[in-house]
């Protein structure tokens, strides 16, 4: 669980400069906006968006669980294990929904 939290976190950090570039270009002028739209709508763009959305969901859900554990909520072994499974299931659901939206 925590290794996935780390991998998704590192990935999101790497995605940040790209996101800022997209923001800058899309706000610069109309042609830039169209260019960025086309880029995001391309197959590679959609795939990258899908990975980013899934990473964000996984990282956020795992983070919420982490915060809950910090305040000693659900620290018992069984409930901690169960919440880990819920985190993975919720992230997987987001991945599937986003994949469905982006590719079907």
């Amino acid at each position: 669980m925590s290794i996935l939290h780390r991998i998704s976190g590192v990935f999101l950090f790497l995605a940040l400069p790209l996101g800022l570039y997209l923001l800058e270009r899309s706000l610069s002028h109309r042609a830039g906006f169209e260019e960025i739209s086309a880029m995001i709508n391309s197959p590679a763009g959609r795939l990258l968006l899908l990975v980013t959305v899934a990473s964000l969901a996984l990282h956020a859900f795992a983070g919420i669980r982490h915060l809950a554990l910090d305040v000693h909520w659900g620290v018992a072994r069984n409930s901690a294990r169960l919440s880990a499974i819920w985190v993975l299931a919720a992230a997987l659901l987001v991945l599937l929904l986003a994949g469905w939206k982006l590719f079907l």
Partner: protein, 120 residues
């Protein structure tokens, strides 16, 4: 004289900053994403005029700044755990800090730098 360089790891201040930035990201970040998602699809004019609003600019800046602080603390922990040679870790730490500071400066420039004021 052994590995005192990792001393900041124990700081509860950073631990708390990591949690506070996490909560800001969860609330403000989710709000921002939902806001843009609900407006989708939008064209350039709508996208551009959204970013003319002070409220949107402040919210985006808050989210990016929190993200950078959050990433800085998180990545520093990752470096501390996986990069053992002190010199390389120090170098990566400097690069990390520089990158994230630049990201905040860049974001400020994007939001308030007069980029695309003409709306053409």
């Amino acid at each position: 004289m052994k590995k005192t360089i990792a001393g900041t790891h124990s700081g509860t201040g950073w631990w708390l900053a990591q949690r506070i930035s996490a909560v800001i990201l969860l609330v403000a970040g989710a709000g921002l994403l939902l806001g843009f998602w609900s407006a989708y699809p939008f064209d350039y004019s709508q996208w551009h005029s959204a970013f003319q609003q002070t409220f949107v600019r402040l919210l985006v800046w808050l989210v990016v700044a929190s993200l950078c602080l959050h990433a800085w603390i998180g990545l520093r922990d990752v470096l501390m755990d996986y990069v053992k040679p002190v010199a390389i870790r120090l170098l990566l730490n400097v690069l990390l800090t520089l990158t994230l500071v630049l990201c905040v400066v860049w974001t400020t420039a994007i939001l308030w730098g007069g980029n695309g004021q003409a709306n053409i």
